[in-house]
Symmetry: C2
Subunit: 394 residues, 2 copies
């Protein structure tokens, strides 16, 4: 008895993957340098040299039985201590190594957290626009996803959030820097969010967890300040992945940090461990746990992403495009000239430009450009973007 | 709203993990060589040299962006081709690389397969004794686990299986070589099983999937023949992990192979892909996918396990213990002298022997010894086993 919902999910490739696949075919047909592929958030900056060095050191230092053996289900205790100390020192976040659970990357961090705190009859509120897999993860946990419209400039709309959070709300997912807009929530927005959720908790008499999805935490430009929910809101579950900061998306390594200030933090952490176990995550990949321990806090070459960001944003605005103001991650949200993003994405293909319509992200009318590409791709793409824009005036 | 079932699961450490933790404390107290720890199936034989060599080659050969980047969700196409070719050549199993899905190890292979074919109202039949996490995985998928009593010598009881498989049965889990008994099903047992399930399918008009959990497939001793369900039963989902054969349990790398002979194999495979996506497995760890591609078919030092097996089995039988006949894996099932296995495990602790009662495995009255230990551990443990046995006569 094949489960129909799972089968449909397996057959319906995500829009992003579809575009990526189309791009692969075009590159074979016309040459890789002729296709301007902004579809996938696969870091283009190589993993920092520290990663390779860490792998080589580990092969020397550790005997293979302990290097490749099981760690405890929560993750290696030494690695968890390093992570907790760094989180405290760097961001002033309350943190306890015994409330950290190492995971197989951001998606695992999210599914495990959701299965720990949400089930049938619950709602999970998500600030739009948002990474479309959130819906898949929330629904698999048995809960209902509730979209919260965003405010001006893709910031927080506090009134919309106030309306969206009800007695049924088990959790709110926040993602700053944001995929797909690149927008970073301001410290005052995070504080206002925390104050609102605290009020809701008091009114409902039950926790409303804030699940903070932070894979882009370190990718912030222009001296913008990083504000993290765990700094100000007790019932926070921080979901992290090393994929973007260390350019390791294929290695599936990240963690969940339950705030020690959370109500019943021990029970909440136990539920995280239980969900990890029930979903089939025995422990996070061992070698890359140790690599994370050695490289936690190492940053990628932000200068390259920052230059891409400026080139693309300025180039597109000069042509006439309207864009969001991306202060983080490596995504730029661009408005479709006539407001129809799927048609914009289709039309762009004729100019060998691949961009993802924002409709699946809960951001209709806009399209996502992932600028984690080579600089030349952007330089060479700008004339094509101009031709694309001008085609709307014809 | 902390999910109570997940919290209970997180708090209730498995009996095996409890014992392992107790052992760690005893080793600190009295010295590692004074504790005879047979609790955990953590391979003691180091990963074959080929594994380290493969990692070093990959660091040289591949640029970091592609080495650590996302693979397709199903896994690297080249690696899947190698696996399919080896499965066909080595075991005569029908196989298609486009029906292979790389996973984060055996547990992930099982949860993904179960969520693909079973849900609310379904039953999953499991031959006893069985790895206790099967229950956790089956119940998380929403289905009911039905225990099928085993036959003589922990073999197949065809009549018991006949009674257990009903219209509600979505799948049967088979695990040969078996954890916890080490028993290997004979080719004629696999054939009888296949014939029975084919009859059931015809009678019910729907597939009854055979989920074959094969992490110990290569660990077979004494020239026994390997018989695999996929050789004879079309609706087979093979779940594999490299943990045991390559001594990599911490790295979480394995695969699911859907038989090309399965009814609606494409739909079944899509459901596997969908379940993997919904549970938060984006792709299997990239570096170890490529390691698996390079090392698929490399065997561990079976001679060391085989010597342990003989030493322990002969030593215990000479003392007077009754044991199963272990032809595979690295587990020996031993009968509690008075038939009370939890009390046997407790009493053994006084002799610094750690063994897991079989009750959680659906094998009450027996205890599991994991003999993936150093040879000296067995040699030094035998006098303690004798004292333990004699304590029952006092």
């Amino acid at each position: 008895m094949i489960q129909q919902d799972m089968m449909q999910l397996g057959k319906r490739r995500s829009t992003i993957r579809e575009l990526f696949e189309f791009g692969r075919q075009r590159k074979e047909a016309v040459g890789a340098d002729k296709v301007f592929d902004f579809s996938l958030g696969n870091p283009s900056v190589p993993a920092p040299q520290a990663v390779e060095q860490a792998i080589r050191e580990l092969l020397e230092e550790k005997d293979p039985v302990s290097l490749h053996g099981y760690t405890s289900a929560q993750g290696d205790a030494g690695v968890r201590r390093i992570i907790a100390e760094n989180l405290k020192a760097r961001y002033g976040v309350p943190c306890d190594p015994d409330l950290i659970y190492m995971t197989c990357g951001a998606a695992a961090s999210l599914t495990i957290s959701l299965h720990a705190v949400a089930g049938e009859g619950d709602e999970v509120a998500v600030l739009t626009p948002y990474f479309p897999e959130y819906r898949v993860f929330v629904e698999k946990a048995g809960a209902k996803l509730v979209e919260v419209p965003c405010g001006a400039g893709f910031g927080l709309d506090l009134e919309a959030l106030d309306r969206a959070v009800t007695e049924k709300t088990a959790a709110v997912i926040v993602n700053s820097p944001n995929n797909p807009t690149g927008v970073v929530l301001k410290p005052e927005e995070i504080s206002a969010l925390a104050a609102l959720l605290s009020e809701k908790e008091a009114a409902f008499g039950h926790p409303v967890y804030l699940i903070s999805d932070e894979p882009y935490r370190e990718l912030i430009y222009g001296g913008k300040r990083t504000a993290l929910p765990a700094q100000v809101y007790p019932d926070t579950i921080t979901c992290y992945s090393y994929s973007k900061a260390l350019s390791l998306p294929g290695e599936r390594i990240g963690y969940i940090a339950v705030s020690p200030k959370a109500r019943d933090a021990g029970d909440l952490y136990a539920a995280v461990c239980g969900a990890g176990r029930a979903l089939g995550f025995v422990c996070a990949p061992a070698l890359f746990q140790y690599v994370a321990g050695k490289c936690d806090g190492v940053l990628p070459d932000l200068a390259a992403y920052d230059e891409n960001r400026r080139l693309l944003t300025e180039g597109l605005r000069e042509i006439g495009y309207e864009t969001a103001s991306p202060d983080g991650a490596f995504y730029l949200f661009v408005k479709a000239p006539d407001g129809n993003a799927p048609a914009f994405s289709e039309r762009a293909k004729k100019y060998e430009i691949l961009l993802v319509p924002g409709d699946d992200f809960g951001g209709p009318g806009w399209a996502r450009l992932a600028y984690c590409v080579k600089k030349e791709t952007i330089v060479n793409a700008l004339p094509a973007f101009r031709a694309l824009y001008e085609s709307y005036g014809e």
